[in-house]
């Protein structure tokens, strides 16, 4: 993996380094794709963390893996497999949720989720095994890669992300209402269940996008950690969304640059940077709560954080 060896290596001359970085078309594509994915994942992820659906996101990511492997096996693009399976998976999750009082206790629920996740991975592994000579491809499907992203893929990612963000923009306010207080929202005539299904589909789209950069196993790095950190920094929705996007994009860019100049894989860097920001959010929060200004404390007391 990550067999890039930079022509000149890191020189501490930032201008030449950046110039060199963008001299290769594949690096330009990687930056474009990474940015698009980071924005989409951060925005959808913010709502996902708010709605406490991180394990749904995790499951959808694992369902995307056999999709991508199967698509490669039958000779279509892995991206189509990611999108197809993740969206289909989202609909299935939504259907099982909607079928009423399926919650017969946590252990039942988690046994189902665990079985589904492991079965998805096993199916993916089967497809990989059937597609001979694909051994290193497994690692890029699971842990991400930034090599070989084509211009066509960048356009596809952009198109899907724009559509997803427009839909999210349209349903944003009622979704926020329904996420924070579903009962009151339902009483006020908000279509809580429809919004839930729509959001799961959007989550599937965002997961499929993120999987193409971070791999199926590391989607948390772009989907969860920036959003969770942002929600620790600020309880305000707009500020939180902006912060989440800023963190995700910064982490992706840093990961790409460092991975380009080092032999270690990008998935490691992106998760590590995102995790560092997440940890920092705990520290900052702790310090603010300890030595925070009076207005900040009053605000936190009022929103109950």
């Amino acid at each position: 993996m990550s067999a890039t060896t930079a022509a000149g290596g890191w020189s501490w001359n930032v201008v030449t380094d950046v110039h060199q970085l963008f001299a290769y078309p594949f690096m330009v594509n990687a930056f474009l794709a990474g940015t698009i994915v980071a924005v989409a994942a951060a925005v959808v992820g913010w709502f996902m963390v708010l709605r406490r659906q991180t394990f749904a996101g995790h499951t959808l990511a694992l369902i995307g893996f056999p999709g991508a492997a199967g698509a490669t096996l039958v000779g279509i693009s892995a991206a189509a497999g990611y999108f197809g399976f993740a969206i289909l998976g989202a609909l299935v999750v939504a259907a099982t949720r909607a079928s009423g009082t399926a919650y017969r206790g946590f252990s039942e629920e988690s046994a189902v989720v665990g079985t589904v996740q492991a079965f998805a991975l096993a199916a993916g592994f089967l497809f990989v095994a059937l597609y001979k000579g694909f051994l290193n491809g497994v690692n890029s499907l699971l842990f991400g890669t930034f090599l070989g992203i084509t211009v066509g893929q960048v356009w596809a990612l952009l198109l899907v992300a724009v559509v997803a963000l427009i839909v999210l923009g349209l349903i944003g306010r009622p979704l926020l209402f329904a996420s924070v207080d579903p009962d009151v929202a339902a009483a006020r005539g908000v279509q809580v269940r429809l919004l839930g299904v729509l959001f799961l589909v959007l989550l599937g789209v965002a997961v499929a996008e993120a999987s193409q950069i971070t791999g199926s196993l590391l989607v948390f790095a772009l989907l969860v950690m920036p959003a969770a950190a942002a929600q620790r920094f600020t309880p305000r929705p707009v500020a939180g969304l902006v912060l989440s996007v800023v963190i995700a994009v910064t982490v992706t860019w840093l990961g790409l640059v460092v991975a380009y100049y080092s032999p270690y894989p990008m998935g490691f860097y992106i998760t590590t940077f995102a995790f560092a920001v997440y940890l920092a959010s705990f520290v900052v929060r702790y310090l603010v709560d300890r030595h925070g200004s009076a207005p900040a404390r009053a605000l936190h007391a009022r929103v109950g954080t």
Binding site: M1, S2, V49, R52, T54, F55, H58, G105, F106, S107, E108, S110, A111, V112, V113, G114, T115, Q117, A118, F119, L121, A122, A123, F125, L126, A129, L130, L135, N136, V138, N139, L142, F143, L217, L218, V219, F220, A221, V224, M225, A228, P263, Y264, P265, G267, F268, I270, T271, T272, A274, F275, Y278
Partner: protein
């Protein structure tokens, strides 16, 4: 041949084994990167994480975001060690990652299966010893604590057992799929019976049967990887158990549904 005894965990700690799977992968690859036997890292990492989870879980209820983020990062570390291993060790090969993610039951040596059998025996014995208080503590935590059951110690002890089992299973079906081998038979058994010791026997039986059937299937069909076959059989067993449970409860369900409907009609009529 190596046969992992399916002491499944039918209690709400399925995600613990998911987390342990990730730790197992990183532990194994870290050991390989350092040039140590991978199993040392495997068991060390799973036991360490199990104790950590047990101790933390006793104090605070860590939420899913925290758990998910920590283990995503641990997996990221695993890839890092993988790269160190494949680039620095002369014997390193890219297949190591796939082996530890998806297992290689056919690659186990006789010595490895002996070790696996011994470890499985010890785990089963330990579980039998703590079974009754563990069951009590699981079903009703507060009452068990009040009755003087050492709930904390038993919880941590159970997690260590899960950790060791995860380390075992990681060698057979891999770090990613062990969750299924621990969750599917346990879930299936709980669908079939509410009685704990019968359930344990059924869970063990299903796990062993799916391992054997899976191995035989993948021997007969060479292009079918053993791990996928084992998981496929285990999933089928779970689906079958769910269907049986549904068929069995249909008559009872019909009655309770009509009762619920009557209650609802009564309520709406009253309001």
């Amino acid at each position: 041949m190596a046969c992992w005894r399916g002491r499944s965990s039918p209690w709400p700690q399925v995600f613990t084994s998911d987390a342990l799977g990730h730790a197992a992968y990183t532990g194994a690859l870290a050991a390989l990167a350092l040039g140590v036997d991978a199993r040392v890292g495997l068991f060390a990492a799973t036991a360490l994480v199990a104790v950590g989870l047990g101790v933390l879980g006793g104090r605070t209820r860590a939420d899913d975001v925290v758990i998910g983020s920590v283990f995503a990062w641990i997996l990221g570390l695993g890839v890092f060690f993988l790269t160190i291993y494949t680039t620095s060790q002369s014997t390193g090969n890219g297949a190591a990652s796939v082996n530890y993610l998806f297992g290689s039951i056919f690659g186990l040596s006789p010595a490895q299966s002996v070790v696996a059998a011994v470890v499985a025996g010890v785990v089963s014995l330990a579980l039998v010893v703590i079974a009754r208080p563990l069951l009590f503590a699981t079903v009703d935590h507060a009452v068990a604590a009040a009755r003087g059951v050492p709930v904390r110690i038993i919880g941590v002890g159970f997690l260590v057992l899960v950790g060791v089992t995860a380390g075992e299973a990681a060698q057979d079906v891999g770090a990613l799929l062990l969750l299924g081998l621990m969750a599917a038979p346990g879930g299936a058994a709980q669908r079939l019976t509410a009685r704990p010791f019968v359930g344990l026997a059924i869970a063990g039986g299903i796990a062993v049967a799916s391992t054997w059937v899976g191995v035989i299937l993948s021997y007969l069909v060479p292009s079918l990887p053993p791990s996928s076959a084992i998981l496929g059989v285990a999933t089928l067993a779970y689906v079958g158990a769910a269907l049986v449970a549904r068929a069995r409860s249909t008559s009872a369900g019909e009655r309770s549904r009509s009762l619920a409907g009557a209650t609802r009609r009564f309520r709406t009529g009253a309001s």
